[in-house]
């Protein structure tokens, strides 16, 4: 099917949806959803802190954002597989942002492999980063937010949490876990005016993904799965995160916001 509107609308410019809020984004130093989300939050007026596993990439991205916005951008290296690293990340956010309002748990990695060929190490690496990493960051952030009686946590999941894809067992399990974690923690946090939601993207195209993927495969994924006739732009996922981070979603918690048509 040919889409009548295969193009994304023009990239929006910020106007202050997150003015007065502080935002921490993990895995924010790439070409994909993390950086686009950090940028969208910053454009909406948030005081943003970028975190990533890769120090050099982190400083490049944070510098680029500083140049674009004309104000300093905090950054902190963190491996979400380490509790010590996560605790020092949250301490750094406390110190440099003056209290954390929004945590975006974006750190995650994938693997495409059939279950029978999957080693314990491969399985553990995916689960430890995507699910346990989200858990560690959540657990560290939550008491800080409940103490202030405000906060919003947004977890990045994936359509494979709902819709099976061959070779994605570990990744899908980790992301389905993130959705269950989101719902359960929502109940714990709600009495303290802290909200926890998930954003569930399908395919968001960005330079890194295009570099490491077979173009024919990406074209097939779009043709077969995406009713928009195109993949999402990373900032479109970022906009969904901005909405959930903002007071505009003040009565939403425990929700998993699908950003594609693939759950329908």
């Amino acid at each position: 099917m040919t889409a009548a509107h295969p193009m994304a609308p023009p990239s929006p410019h910020g106007h202050g949806l997150l003015v007065g809020k502080t935002v921490l984004v993990t895995a924010a130093a790439g070409t994909g959803i993390g950086f686009a989300t950090a940028r969208r939050c910053a454009e909406e007026g948030a005081n943003v802190m970028l975190s990533d596993l890769h120090a050099r990439r982190l400083s490049t991205c944070a510098d680029a954002l500083e140049d674009a916005l004309g104000r300093p951008i905090a950054r902190e290296v963190c491996d979400v597989r380490s509790n010590v690293a996560v605790e020092s990340l949250l301490a750094a956010a406390d110190e440099r942002l003056g209290g954390l309002d929004v945590l975006v748990n974006n750190a995650g990695l994938g693997a495409t492999i059939d279950v029978v060929d999957t080693t314990d190490e491969q399985w553990d690496r995916v689960l430890d980063t995507n699910l346990s990493g989200t858990f560690r960051c959540l657990r560290a952030a939550l008491p800080r937010m409940t103490a202030r009686r405000r906060g919003s946590i947004v977890n990045l999941a994936s359509i494979v949490a709902w819709r099976a894809e061959r070779g994605q067992a570990a990744y899908a399990s980790s992301k389905a876990g993130v959705l269950a974690l989101t719902r359960c923690v929502a109940l714990e946090a709600a009495p303290f005016n802290v909200r926890i939601n998930a954003v569930v993207p399908s395919l968001a195209l960005h330079p890194h993904l295009e570099k490491v993927s077979d173009p024919a495969f990406l074209e097939k994924m779009v043709r077969e799965n995406e009713v928009f006739g195109r993949a999402a732009e990373p900032w479109e996922i970022g906009n969904a995160v901005v909405f959930l981070a903002s007071d505009y979603s003040s009565y939403m918690t425990g929700e998993s916001l699908s950003v594609s048509c693939r759950r329908a």
Binding site: T2, A8, C184, A240, F243, M252
Partner: protein, 258 residues
């Protein structure tokens, strides 16, 4: 609360039709979309009621008109669509909010009650949407939002046919998203929860107060929703901020269904 004016959250120069716009969540949505810059056409069961509600919004600064639309009547959807075409000439956003709720145990449910529930909550909404598709398609920003209910996800004793009608609307939302998103029309649904509106509240003031207190106590956030909180979520879904969101049934319920 900071009032966001982000461009992609804005609806300037867009026309939005909100059915059932004279009360509760419908009015809140009409007001919010107007605040975002949209021109509003709201409907109520009779022309006078719709007109006076639109006039009240206009007094707040909205660009709003009211049309009579009784979704219980066969052919009413086609007539409303025709009038929108004739008198307004364009449509970017359709919010199917008009609905009826009749408490009923299934064992005592009468066929006329079932027919009314499905006529208003499903059939009229579907045929109104279908009749307005050409206008929504030429918009370039077409967005349909169907207001559903918690009962669509978690059936409740005492309102079975109502829950079934809302479940049908959810299902149609998902089909329409598949059929119309390639045409440039996004289709989503919104499930409000723990919202105190006339539709669900007892008439008696004392019972009403107790009902609201119970709703708040049962909700994880320990409070009921303000209608504006539902309306803001609606605004997101019909705006360009949700440019890649379609076929989603968004639950706005303080975690009630989590």
């Amino acid at each position: 609360m900071h009032d966001p004016s982000a461009a992609h959250f804005r609806l300037d120069d867009r026309v939005a039709l909100v059915t059932g716009g004279t009360r509760g969540i419908g009015t809140a949505i009409a007001r919010e979309l107007a605040a975002a810059g949209a021109r509003i056409v709201l409907t109520g069961r009779d022309e006078i009621g719709a007109g006076s509600c639109a006039a009240a919004l206009a007094a707040e600064g909205a660009d709003a008109v009211g049309f009579g639309y009784d979704a219980r009547e066969a052919g009413a959807a086609a007539r409303l669509a025709e009038r929108v075409k004739r008198e307004i000439g364009r449509l970017d956003i359709l919010v199917n909010n008009a609905a009826v709720l009749r408490p009923h145990l299934v064992a005592r449910l009468r066929e006329e009650e079932f027919d009314e529930l499905f006529q208003v909550n499903v059939k009229s909404a579907l045929f109104l949407t279908k009749a307005l598709q050409p206008l929504l398609q030429i918009s370039g920003h077409g967005a349909v939002l169907n207001i559903t209910a918690a009962g669509a996800h978690a059936p409740m004793a005492g309102i079975g046919a109502y829950c079934a009608s809302k479940a049908a609307l959810v299902n149609l939302t998902r089909t329409l998203a598949r059929e119309w998103t390639p045409l440039g029309i996004r289709v989503n649904a919104l499930t409000p929860g723990s919202t105190a509106t006339d539709m669900i509240l007892p008439v008696d003031a004392e019972r009403r107060e107790r009902f609201v207190a119970e709703m708040a106590a049962q909700n994880p956030m320990n409070r009921i929703a303000e209608p504006v909180e539902i309306a803001r979520a609606a605004r997101f879904l019909v705006s360009d901020a949700a440019s890649y969101v379609t076929g989603h049934v968004m639950v706005v319920d303080g975690g009630l269904l989590a």
